[in-house]
């Protein structure tokens, strides 16, 4: 049976993670610190939960990330997936009720940035575990909706 912990425990832990990021001894920008941690986490997460042999092409890969992966991490699927037809390997993944923004009205701007950095790192890590090098950035036009822009830098092995 899949292990669960309480949402509030993870949130309180995450607040502490953010505090550590903001005061890290090497002086890394907090968002970079959080993104790096999330990258490692996302990689390992995907390796644990995904049967990679079943992903046969880029379309299935991005759908897996939007559906199964995002659900494992954020308890829901991405709501929209758009691809940039002019540029292969560019996608916009939108979560209309991003969990990281559910209390956006009372969040400091910096904490919002760190929640987004975590999500971007998780996505980047998951993609890396699927042999895709990508950059992931987040755009929030209308919280709690959030768009994640994925720019793949390689061509993956299968078309």
């Amino acid at each position: 049976m899949k292990r669960e912990i309480s949402d509030s425990a993870f949130e309180i832990f995450f607040v502490e993670l953010m505090r550590q990021a903001k005061t890290n001894p090497k002086g890394l920008p907090a968002a970079t610190y959080v993104e790096q941690i999330a990258f490692v986490c996302g990689q390992k997460f995907l390796e644990r939960s995904c049967d990679k042999k079943r992903i046969l092409n880029q379309t299935e890969l991005i759908k897996y990330v939007c559906r199964e992966f995002w659900t494992e991490v954020y308890s829901k699927q991405m709501d929209q997936l758009r691809r940039n037809l002019q540029q292969e390997g560019n996608y916009v993944l939108t979560d209309l009720r991003f969990r990281g923004l559910r209390r956006f009205e009372s969040m400091h701007k910096e904490d919002i940035e760190l929640h987004l950095a975590f999500a971007c790192g998780m996505l980047r890590g998951a993609l890396a575990a699927l042999n895709v090098t990508a950059t992931v950035t987040a755009e929030v036009a209308e919280p709690p909706a959030c768009a994640f822009i994925v720019t793949m830098l390689d061509r993956p092995a299968a078309a």
């Binding site: 899949k2 309480s6 550590q20 001894p25 999330a38 990258f39 986490c41």
Partner: protein, 158 residues
């Protein structure tokens, strides 16, 4: 006075709370520990930092405990320890814990956590196995939480 059934309270509280994938926690924790090793370059310092982070979590989580557990106040240290083990650990981490080996004056005990949720998938490299307290966050959480209910404690792994 009937003993409260902390086991039941803990189980119920855990079921009622929103939950997330446990892997998210242990994998984030693992990545954090890895980062801390890079940050501090000294395992003793990493242990200390984990304990400090845990303390910060402990002082905050106690409010959540009182708000959501339905367990009420504790009568003495032994009662508080029982509540922490059976209710606290269960409702937040979904794990069973118990207090054992109480000393005659009821001021010292051992806490046994069945199935440490932080240590899933973890293997410590040989170089760290003797010096790193990987789950030291929990030690800090315990110390911080107790301090908020007016008990100053020392906690350590054995």
């Amino acid at each position: 006075m009937a003993a409260k059934n902390y086991q039941q309270i803990g189980d119920l509280a855990f079921r009622k709370l929103d939950r997330v994938n446990g892997d998210l926690f242990c994998l984030t924790y693992g990545a954090l520990v890895t980062q801390l090793v890079k940050d501090y370059e000294n395992i003793e310092e990493v242990n200390k930092q984990l304990e400090k982070m845990g303390w910060n979590i402990g002082v905050r989580i106690i409010d959540e405990y009182f708000a959501k557990s339905g367990a009420g106040r504790c009568s003495d240290f032994k009662d508080a320890a029982e509540a922490m083990a059976k209710v606290g650990f269960k409702m937040f981490l979904g794990v069973n814990a118990r207090t054992v080996n109480w000393n005659p004056t009821s001021t010292e005990f051992s806490l046994i956590i069945e199935d440490n949720p932080l240590a899933d998938y973890v293997e410590l490299p040989e170089a760290f196995a003797r010096t790193m307290w990987y789950s030291n966050l929990l030690v800090g959480v315990i110390r911080g939480a107790f301090e908020m209910v007016q008990y100053r404690v020392e906690a350590r792994f054995v």
